[in-house]
Symmetry: C2
Subunit: 416 residues, 2 copies
């Protein structure tokens, strides 16, 4: 990683995590500490997770060998976990105040399996209603996607695709699976030469360039990330595709032209529930009344549940993975759009994350040269937790193909 | 049709349609008649539909040649149309008080295209809430499906499948497409030999027998229609499959065993919105907690809209084609079921109906030997109207594959 790409990134803020102060010279665990630990250990025993306090104290009684041991390194951390578990697990892990002995993914999968998905209560649903204004979205996207292209290059595929790949053969490489994903989406859209495509949220531009190159369409692609758009424009010039692919550094809400096809891969989870009707309006406005069709590819859920608060704070501010119902009822149906095809690619995202994680760990030295240890641990937990969520059904990956209700552009049978 | 299969059927009730009395000796159209006709003709002129009164009066002014002419044969019918259009079009057509000159499907398609789908107002939504009790459902199913097997044999395929076929090649025969449909559903369900399948709403039993014969599963199949169940049992005996296929003459709500797979082809549109949570409960109760998965195949819509009141009255009492949102939000998501795959087969149902219609018309002499003219006209309009609704996007046909959120039985990629 070049020094010119050093970023404050989330580094500073992780260190400055709010919570109880670390207490490295903690004395032996007291009766109170053990009393506080007991109910947490009891709950986690069903998942075969062993807890230990800073002095080695453990109340794990199960006969099953533990999947992993989580060491709570100081009293402040114990109190923090009791007060706000969902946030403090991440804060503790990233600052080293929670230490995991054993396999991190296996640990998280065991917990997710033991506490299966169910809809959140009304109080925590409130957080799903954050309103992502234009300014907020710009800030959110900058927070995550402008960490430096070199950082992402370390562990993404050569095409720099930061979305779920498609492993038509489970043993294919990540590179092959990312190309298979682009082909999969193009076939679902039945792209025809000369058609006009708009892409909302184009990442580093690989899919826009792929569509133009292999399907002869012209593409207008939107993205708020300056680093990504700069990179994408360079690639378009290098590939001689600048005349057919236009990269626009702006919000999807500013799309104001007509297109045959609307496509969005991995952006809807940043849009936020409160903006779904706006998303529907944008699609409706952008799509040709006769031939208009599109595809939304997004992380979703089977039940209404906010994104984990630590992930919202450290990784994806403003993020929300919607249910299929929320997408059909708020984005598509109000605008006379008909669902033609839905595919759930959940296992493919688990596999994609497995690839990303092993590349991330293999490139660790280079990450360390630009980022500090809390940053590395934050990303390690985020990638491992995401993999576990897809393995266990806590998260889904939906691809939804839609068209005008009266469209004549519906393919007779699907070919994927 | 054998005389032993004579039915009162809907025959009597069509004749006794409420409305204004026919007025065969109507005098010439008056100024009032023309004044009442004018706004209706104006609206229909956009669809190039020409109206004419009993004395030949027409106010059609368009330069475009009409798609068809609809003759209103008496003054009572004109008043009836103004008062309750949605009901009286069907009542008028079936009793011959509305006469169509021209192609019936083309006429209906022109109207559907000119008045594109939009959600119904709250008042007409109320009718979507009819509560289908066990008794009501039994009556509803008897009304439609116990018209006599000989009647349906005249125009269905040899396997007696009264649901949307799958034309993997658009030019295949109806027989081939119905077999392709069964294979399509089985592949989506990844059936494995020895698995236990429950089928809710099994028609004349062809699909249950197909699954047992070709996929080595055991099937328990439910249906309320006595005629259909009797026929299905005969076929099971003849095929030597009685040990692996059990036909139960009862409501889907009485399913009380555990199965690996839940499948329902063409029943959900009879269930009614008010019973959707019950449907979800039944599926949840019936499905194996680990490997459980299923498929719902149903007529649906892109927008909330009640079934046409004439169709509800004469063809499908208690029927309601739901939106995808209503199915995901009321049947699947509350019970921890994950949507794996959705396919919209709308054009396939239009093609299926085209086949049914031409067979129906070809077998007309035999229909007439058991049923009267209003019955024939009722069915002609129902089949033509359904075809037009699928062609124009007023109705959709969804196949939804689902599984437990944590299921390990999810196929890696779809093979259909």
């Amino acid at each position: 990683m070049h020094s010119s790409h050093q970023h404050a990134g989330p580094t500073g803020s992780v260190i400055g995590a709010k919570g109880w102060p670390a207490d490295p010279g903690a004395s032996r665990a007291t009766v109170l500490d053990r009393w506080l630990l007991a109910p947490v250990q009891r709950a986690l025993e069903a998942a075969s997770v062993r807890l230990a306090l800073w002095d080695g104290t453990s109340l794990y009684r199960s006969l099953a060998p533990p999947v992993a041991t989580v060491e709570i390194r100081d009293r402040g951390m114990l109190f923090g976990l009791l007060r706000n578990r969902e946030l403090m697990v991440g804060e503790g892990y990233s600052t080293g105040r929670l230490k995991v002995e054993g396999d991190l993914v296996a640990l998280l999968e065991a917990i997710y399996r033991t506490f299966p998905p169910r809809a959140a209560g009304w109080l925590s649903r409130l957080s799903t209603w954050r309103r992502n204004t234009l300014d907020r979205s710009r800030h959110d996207i900058h927070h995550h996607y402008d960490l430096g292209n070199d950082f992402y290059r370390l562990w993404l595929d050569g095409e720099m695709q930061y979305t779920c790949a498609y492993f038509s053969d489970p043993d294919m490489t990540l590179e092959e699976a990312q190309i298979a994903k682009m082909r999969h989406v193009c076939r679902k859209l039945s792209l025809r030469p000369g058609e006009r495509v708009v892409e909302a949220g184009c990442g580093w531009g690989s899919f826009a360039l792929y569509m133009a190159r292999h399907y002869g369409v012209s593409v207008t692609a939107y993205n708020l990330s300056r680093e990504q758009i700069g990179y994408a424009r360079q690639r378009a010039r290098a590939a001689g595709l600048s005349d057919r692919v236009t990269f626009v550094e702006d919000d999807y809400r500013t799309i104001n032209d007509r297109f045959d096809v609307f496509v969005s891969v991995g952006m809807l989870e940043h849009v936020g529930l409160a903006q779904f009707p706006v998303m529907g309006e944008v699609i409706d406005r952008a799509l040709d009344p006769q031939r208009g069709r599109g595809l939304l590819h997004f992380i979703g859920r089977d039940f209404v549940y906010p994104l984990n608060p630590w992930i919202r704070k450290r990784i994806f501010p403003g993020g929300y993975p919607p249910t299929l119902t929320q997408v059909t009822s708020r984005v598509l149906e109000p605008y006379g759009l008909s669902v033609l095809d839905v595919e759930n690619l959940r296992p493919h995202y688990a596999r994609t994350l497995q690839h990303w994680r092993s590349r991330f760990e293999a490139g660790l030295d280079r990450v360390h040269s630009a980022f500090d240890e809390p940053f590395v641990r934050t990303w390690r937990l985020y990638l491992a937790g995401s993999q576990a969520a897809f393995t266990t059904g806590w998260m889904q990956l939906f691809q939804v193909v839609f068209a005008r209700s009266q469209s004549s552009a519906i393919p007779w049978i699907r070919r994927t």
